[in-house]
C-alpha cells in the first residue's frame, strides 16, 4: 500500500467540469492531473501509472467505458469512478463487467468525489 498521496487522473472533455473537479480535490488536500483527451490520458498512464481515475462517460472520440475497457485489458486494476449525464441500464450492465468502483450521475455529490479519492486502496 503506497504511503504517498495517490496519483489521481480526471478525464472529461468539458473544461469547466475538469477544472472545477481538480479545484475541489486540491482544496481537499489532493492533487489531480486533468486530461480533456482520453488518448492523452491513456498515453500518460502507460508512462507512469495512476492510482485512481475519475472519468466522464460521454466524450466525443472515446467513451469512458471504452477507456476503462482498454485499461482493464492492459491489466490496470485501479479503482475507477465513472461519471455520466444520463445513467442507462446499458451503462450499468457494461460497468458491472468492468469492476468500476462507482458509477455516478452528474453532478456528482462533492462528498462522493472526495471519499472516492481518499479511500484506502
Amino acid at each position: 500500500m503506497p504511503q504517498r498521496l495517490p496519483r489521481i487522473a480526471i478525464v472529461d472533455d468539458d473544461m469547466a467540469v475538469l477544472e472545477s473537479t481538480r479545484f475541489l480535490l486540491e482544496i481537499s488536500g489532493h492533487s489531480a492531473e486533468t486530461f480533456a483527451s482520453p488518448e492523452d490520458f491513456l498515453e500518460e498512464s502507460e508512462r507512469a501509472a495512476f492510482d485512481r481515475l475519475i472519468i466522464d462517460q460521454h466524450m466525443p472520440l472515446l467513451t469512458g467505458l471504452e477507456v476503462v475497457d482498454r485499461l482493464r485489458a492492459r491489466g490496470v486494476n485501479i479503482p475507477i469512478m465513472l461519471l455520466t449525464g444520463a445513467l442507462t441500464p446499458d451503462i450499468t450492465t457494461r460497468a458491472r463487467g468492468m469492476q468500476l468502483e462507482r458509477v455516478v450521475e452528474k453532478p456528482a455529490g462533492v462528498q462522493d468525489l472526495v471519499d472516492f479519492v481518499t479511500a484506502r486502496a
Binding site: 469547466a16 479545484f23 452528474k106 455529490g109 462533492v110
Partner: protein, 364 residues
C-alpha cells in the same frame, strides 16, 4: 385444347372471362349484354342475374342520372376513361370504382352498345390512406427524434455547468471553513461564469421554441388541417372518434406550416385525451374569417370542458395534466400563434366541451 387452338372469337371470350377486371357490355338502352366472372365477384350478381337486365341495378340512387350521360357520349362514339364514381353491390355495399367505357360496334361499324371495364378502387383508396398515415407518422417520428436529440443535447449542456457549479460550491464550503478568502472569491467567479453559460443554454431553448424554422408561406388551410389530423390520429388512435372539419377548400393562410400543425396537433391530442372513456367523442374543426380580416380557427371537443383550476393555468408554461406530456404545451402554442401575428384563447365555460380558438393571417 390450348388457347392457340381456339378460334379468334373464342380466344377473346376466354381472355375476357379470365380477366381480373370486371368487364361488362350493355346495349344502347342500358341493358346488360355481357357480364364476366370478375364482374360477378365485384358486384355479387351472377351473369344470369344481370344479362337482359338494366345496368342501373348496380347504380346507387344518387348516381342514376349518370347513365343517360354515359349512353349519350357512347352514342356519339366517344370513349370515357377512368371515370371515378360509385356503384352498389348486391349486398348493398357502396364501392368506389374507376370505369372506362368504349363504344361497342357491330360488323358494319354501327354503335350498338358500350363495353365497360370497372376497377374497384377500395384497395387503392386503402393504400392511399395508408400512405397518408405513414407519411404523417414519418413526420411525427422525425419531429420526435429531432426533439429527442435536441433534448439530449440540452440535458448534456445544462448538466456540465451544473456539475462545475456543484464542485465549486463544495470547494467554497471548505475554503470558507479554512478562512481562505482569496480562494473563495476565485470559486465564486468561476460559479458566475458557469451560471452565464447556463443562461446561454436557456436562451437557446427559447430560440428553438419560438423562432425555429419560421418560414411564412401561403398555405391551403384545409390541407394543413388534414395533415395535422392524420398526425393526431396516428399518435392517438381512436376508432370511434368522430372528426368533422368545416373549412373552405380554397382558404389560404400565411403561416409556417410545420408550426401551425404543431398547434393543431396539440389541440387535437388534448381533445382526444379529454374525451377518453366517453361514449360520444367528437371533435369539430372550423375556420372562418373574423371581423378583423384574419381567419379564426376553432377546435372543439365533446369532453367535460375545462375545470376552473385548469382554466386559470391554461397557457402557463410547463403545466401539464398528462403523464407523458408529449404535447408541447399550450403556452408554446400561444407563442407560435402570436409569432404569426395571431391570438389564441379558450372559450368561456359553455354547455359542452372545451373550445380553443386562434387566428391566422389570411393570404390573398
Amino acid at each position: 385444347m390450348g388457347i392457340n387452338d381456339l378460334s379468334d372469337q373464342a380466344r377473346l371470350a376466354a381472355i375476357v372471362e379470365s380477366s381480373d377486371d370486371a368487364i361488362v357490355a350493355k346495349d344502347l338502352h342500358g341493358m346488360v349484354l355481357a357480364w364476366n366472372r370478375a364482374a360477378e365477384r365485384l358486384f355479387g350478381y351472377t351473369a344470369a342475374e344481370m344479362i337482359g337486365h338494366p345496368i342501373t341495378v348496380i347504380f346507387p340512387n344518387d348516381r342514376m342520372t349518370e347513365e343517360a350521360g354515359i349512353l349519350e357520349k357512347v352514342g356519339r362514339g366517344e370513349r370515357i376513361e377512368h371515370y371515378i364514381t360509385e356503384r352498389r353491390r348486391k349486398d348493398g355495399q357502396i364501392i368506389r370504382v374507376s370505369v372506362t367505357i368504349s363504344p361497342l360496334r357491330d360488323d358494319a361499324g354501327k354503335i350498338v352498345g358500350a363495353s365497360k371495364i370497372v376497377r374497384d378502387l377500395t384497395e387503392s383508396d386503402a393504400h392511399e390512406q395508408r400512405i397518408r398515415e405513414l407519411r404523417a407518422e414519418l413526420v411525427h417520428v422525425q419531429r420526435l427524434s429531432e426533439m429527442g436529440q435536441f433534448i439530449s443535447a440540452l440535458v448534456h449542456e445544462v448538466n456540465q455547468p451544473l456539475t462545475a457549479i456543484s464542485n465549486y460550491i463544495g470547494a467554497c464550503r471548505r475554503l470558507a471553513a479554512a478562512g481562505n478568502q482569496a480562494g473563495f472569491e476565485l470559486a465564486l467567479d468561476r460559479i458566475e461564469g458557469q451560471t452565464q453559460r447556463t443562461r446561454d443554454v436557456v436562451q437557446r431553448i427559447r430560440d428553438f421554441v419560438s423562432k425555429r424554422q419560421v418560414a411564412l408561406r401561403p398555405e391551403n388551410l384545409s390541407r394543413v388541417v388534414d395533415e395535422a389530423i392524420a398526425l393526431a390520429r396516428v399518435s392517438a388512435p381512436d376508432e370511434g372518434l368522430k372528426l368533422s372539419v368545416s373549412i373552405a377548400p380554397d382558404a389560404l393562410v400565411y403561416v409556417d406550416r410545420i408550426q401551425v400543425q404543431q398547434v393543431l396537433f396539440n389541440l387535437l391530442r388534448n381533445g382526444i385525451e379529454a374525451m377518453q372513456g366517453l361514449t360520444s367523442r367528437e371533435i369539430v374543426v372550423k375556420a372562418s374569417p373574423d371581423a378583423a380580416g384574419m381567419i379564426e380557427v376553432s377546435v372543439a371537443d365533446s369532453g367535460p370542458g375545462l375545470s376552473p383550476v385548469v382554466r386559470d393555468k391554461l397557457f402557463q408554461p410547463f403545466v401539464t395534466t398528462k403523464a407523458e406530456g408529449m404535447g408541447m404545451g399550450l403556452s408554446v402554442c400561444r407563442t407560435i400563434v402570436e409569432a404569426h401575428s395571431g391570438r389564441m384563447w379558450a372559450d368561456p365555460d359553455g354547455s359542452g366541451g372545451a373550445v380553443f380558438r386562434f387566428t391566422l393571417r389570411a393570404a390573398a
